[in-house]
């Protein structure tokens, strides 16, 4: 298969003065349309940098990113990002935060009423329509992340980029939100690239898990297929032998072969 989103031999080196730090080395990855791919690795391995390169927020040093056979090297709504810390604009209401994106992306193609309806539709998709007139400071962390997800979905992106979207949430809220993301993925069949450091999250949500070696000069260590049927249910899957085997593989990779050695 040719691949819908292709990350092609990407290197990233940060230069500060005369000091050069090689962060990513020879990253090549091909993602199909509708696929849910997670990137997992220890902190500091450059996985967020990789996501930012795909988003266009950071330029790669060598190599490039192809979306539908076209090179993308600047940010755009076709690769919507859900940021780790929600990044909602605090002076806008929940509705206006999503509407800002809708207005920008569909200014030429949708009428005012259609844009309004589309905004509400996406808020309903993440079950946040009830809080549409609240400001971000008045809703909980999980709710903010939902709105951030609604904003990204509302752009109708070709690829949805999730940068540790559940990282800042407590375990219960996280599980709840993961279920929502699974349901939305099931319904809309988006292509998703997610950064995570949570093994269970990666196995539960992904079709494929990309495991990265430790930096500096992090590479793709291993790519694991997760052949679990969808829809997946958290409780049923937890005792599924395939699930356990996948989980075991990722854990072995992270904790035995590429153990994170903290610089002492």
């Amino acid at each position: 298969m040719s691949g819908y989103l292709k990350i092609d031999h990407v290197d990233k080196t940060f230069t500060r003065g005369s000091q050069q730090t090689e962060v990513l080395k020879e990253i090549t990855l091909s993602i199909d349309r509708g696929e849910y791919v997670s990137i997992i690795g220890h902190s500091g391995c450059g996985k967020s940098t990789l996501l930012n390169i795909v988003a266009g927020l950071v330029q790669s040093t060598r190599g490039g990113v192809l979306l539908e056979e076209r090179e993308v090297d600047e940010p755009g709504p076709d690769r919507a990002v859900v940021f780790q810390n929600h990044s909602l604009l605090p002076w806008l209401t929940v509705y206006d935060n999503v509407r800002l994106a809708v207005d920008k992306v569909f200014s030429g193609t949708k009428s005012r009423a259609e844009r309004r309806a589309w905004t509400m539709h996406n808020l309903e998709l993440v079950q946040m329509a009830h809080a549409k007139d609240k400001r971000p400071a008045e809703i909980s962390g999980g709710m903010k992340q939902r709105v951030g997800l609604a904003r990204a979905l509302a752009m109708e992106p070709k690829v949805l980029l999730l940068d540790e979207p559940f990282g800042a949430l407590d375990a219960l809220t996280r599980a709840h939100l993961q279920d929502s993301v699974m349901a939305i993925h099931q319904k809309l069949r988006n292509t998703v690239l997610m950064i995570t450091h949570d093994v269970d999250e990666a196995v539960l949500l992904s079709d494929r898990i990309v495991m990265m070696t430790n930096g500096p000069a992090a590479r793709i260590g291993e790519v694991l297929d997760v052949p679990l049927a969808r829809p997946r249910r958290r409780l049923e899957v937890a005792s599924n032998p395939t699930y356990l085997k996948c989980r075991q593989r990722v854990l072995e990779f992270l904790y035995e072969r590429h153990r994170f050695i903290e610089a002492a």
């Binding site: 266009g56 940010p75 604009l89 605090p90 002076w91 800002l100 920008k104 971000p136 400071a137 752009m155």
Partner: protein, 298 residues
């Protein structure tokens, strides 16, 4: 095995207590007791202490300036001397003999123009400096020097440039108010979180949209700090500028009164200036709390 003995009390007749419920009349909370009285209390706690202090100050002043040969007029003398100025701020008795209210309005007009210009230009320049590293490196040192120059020191130069007192006074207001607005705006712009910039990048906001959808709201608390300092400084500067440029403003009135030895009128004018300055500051602060409510809550 022996069963443990369970001791049971012989049943005793319990006398039934009889009681009737007495209804106590509860006073119905009226509008007066729930709304009006607490509001009055709140007003009283805020107004009574300053009024008491004001009375004390006036009393001391009266005692100090009552004796014959005192250089400054006592409050009672001011009241009798400047009675017409105090009771009617808006009389018109001739082209140069008008109430202090009119004079204040004329001064306010100049401030409005100068301060308005300072607001617009200050925010734009501040944005430029906050956004561009090169603009900051080039302009910031210059601004840091210029802002220490006393407003009045600009007056001769502006008189020479504009050859008219009206635009000169406005220029002095402008040059006084613009520095804090520039500097605070620049700080606010520099402090825009990278997250918001990323959001703008993903949405592909153009420069104009980024300016008024992200930059201005995000920097609003800083900008309003600058605007508030600016309005205070402009009001300080207009009085001094009008003393030198003449005209009909409140500043010139003081100078005129000094030249004709009407000390009581000067004191009344000072009170006016103080009260108007206070109101101006409150207005800008009020606008700031309304506008930045969403931003400050984050």
């Amino acid at each position: 095995m022996t069963m443990p003995l369970i001791k049971t009390e012989p049943s005793v007749e319990i006398p039934q207590a009889t009681a009737t419920v007495l209804r106590l009349s509860t006073p119905k909370p009226s509008f007066l007791t729930t709304k009006v009285l607490p509001a009055l209390g709140a007003v009283a706690t805020r107004t009574i202490p300053p009024l008491v202090m004001l009375g004390l100050i006036l009393a001391v002043w009266q005692i100090l300036c009552m004796k014959p040969g005192a250089t400054l007029p006592a409050p009672s003398k001011i009241w009798s001397d400047a009675y017409d100025l105090i009771v009617d701020p808006f009389f018109v008795a001739g082209p140069q003999d008008i109430g202090l209210g009119w004079r204040v309005l004329i001064s306010l007009q100049r401030v409005a123009v100068g301060y308005g210009l300072a607001g617009v230009i200050g925010i734009l320049l501040g944005t430029l400096i906050g956004q561009s590293v090169w603009a900051m490196r080039g302009l910031d040192p210059i601004f840091q020097v210029l802002r220490t120059i006393s407003p009045l020191a600009w007056l001769p130069i502006s008189l020479a440039a504009f050859r008219d007192s009206q635009p000169s006074a406005i220029f002095v207001i402008f040059i006084t108010a613009v520095w804090p607005i520039i500097i605070n705006t620049a700080v606010g712009i520099r402090n825009i979180p990278q997250d918001y910039r990323n959001v703008a990048a993903v949405l592909r906001l153009n420069h104009l949209e980024f300016f008024y959808k992200i930059m201005i709201p995000s920097a609003a608390p800083y900008i309003f700090t600058g605007l508030r300092i600016g309005i205070g400084l402009s009001w300080l500067a207009i009085v001094a500028a009008e003393m030198l440029t003449g005209g009909v403003g409140i500043g010139f009135f003081i100078w005129d009164a000094w030249n004709s030895s009407r000390l009581s009128d000067i004191v009344v004018a000072l009170v006016y200036i103080g009260l108007v300055g206070f109101v101006l500051d409150r207005i800008v602060a009020g606008v700031a709390t309304v506008v930045t409510r969403g931003t400050a809550a984050s």
